[in-house]
Amino acid sequence: MTQASNLLDRREAVKALLADRGDLLVISGLGSASYDVFNTGDHDGNFYLWGAMGGAAMMGLGLAQAQPRRPVLVITGDGEQLMGVGSLLTIAAHAPANLSIAVLDNGHFGETGMQRSHSGLGARLDVIAKGAGFPMVAEINDMADIAAFRSSVKNLSAGPKLALIRIATTHVDRALPPRDGAFLKNRFRQHLGFAVT
């Protein structure tokens, strides 16, 4: 695949998504998406997945249904979302207004040696989401559109929303968040006011 040289830098894209995050809750899909979110700045309202491939969006749905007054943003890669592509149908069918999904799409499985993904071979996750019934989808190629999407994420109506963010395959160093899942879970729940028992 030839890439346009003006594709977005993934770290800059995620920093822009999370600027002025307010009461945003974030689930990140395993691999580079988790590194990107952690690189932006650790936060008690972040839950970083290190496994459970294909499950990020569904964790977002369960969280969004439990916390309807908080905006929930799932940030994940194209490969992770492709493995759970059916979850786009489930999410659209239940229309959680406060749930948004940002797919960082470089068309490749970056963590495993840059093999081309179905997205890189032509599949369009934004079109699939539209067909599933997402009321709002966007294909994003520039930073201005990321700022616009960030505003819409905080609007707790008209969801669920999905943004396909075209990013470059350029190498970035790993930024490794904590790997202890029980710690991350308890920290997140404490952030929402639930006591650790």
Partner: protein
């Protein structure tokens, strides 16, 4: 063609789906997700009819494992309903539970274990309990309708108070024969 969803003598049995529903409510379950099964049809109806329960139909069972974990992150208790044929679909997603010590409460209607008509159900039916156990899920069996409330209550306590993944296998003998002839 109308293949009957429930056994003929269902009306004469204890209302175990009602007992399960009431027990889940008593334990504060606020989200129920499912891949449908005829044996779960009454419980699914009760869940959809209850505005206090967010009821989610899934495309595959593993979605419900992740959804249950997300619900818990947000402070809610969830239950997952599936047929035994779906348990294998969940294997890798079940790693989420032990990696993070998330609770799970899943109720599984059994096929392929008692007077089964469809040989294609048998391999996964025979492997259902082992599939859960190799991933660290504790398996309870519900064999008698009158035990439904007690078994579900014990499982819910273990799941939500001791952060354990628990599967309740509802025996095919208790569910009764699926009727395969057409009804007019």
């Amino acid at each position: 063609m109308n293949i009957a969803a429930l056994p003929d003598d269902i009306a004469s049995r204890p209302d175990w789906p009602g007992a399960i529903y009431r027990t889940l409510k008593e334990h504060g379950v606020a989200q129920i997700s499912y891949v449908p099964d005829a044996g779960h049809s009454r419980l699914i109806e009760l869940s959809h009819a209850d505005p206090a329960i967010k009821t989610t139909v899934l495309t595959t069972e593993e979605e419900g494992v992740a959804l249950s974990a997300g619900a818990w992150l947000g402070g809610e208790r969830a239950a997952l309903l599936m047929q035994s044929s779906g348990v294998g679909n969940c294997i890798n997603m079940l790693s989420l539970l032990s990696s993070c010590r998330f609770p799970l409460l899943t109720l599984v209607t059994m096929r392929g274990e008692w007077a089964e008509f469809n040989p294609w159900q048998i391999p996964m039916g025979k492997a259902t309990a082992q599939a859960f156990e190799i991933m660290g899920v504790t398996v309870f069996r519900l064999e008698r309708a009158e035990d439904a409330a007690e078994v579900v209550s014990a499982a819910a306590s273990l799941a939500f108070e001791s952060d354990q993944p628990i599967a309740i296998l509802i025996s095919q003998r208790m569910l009764g024969h699926k009727k395969w002839t057409e009804t007019k």
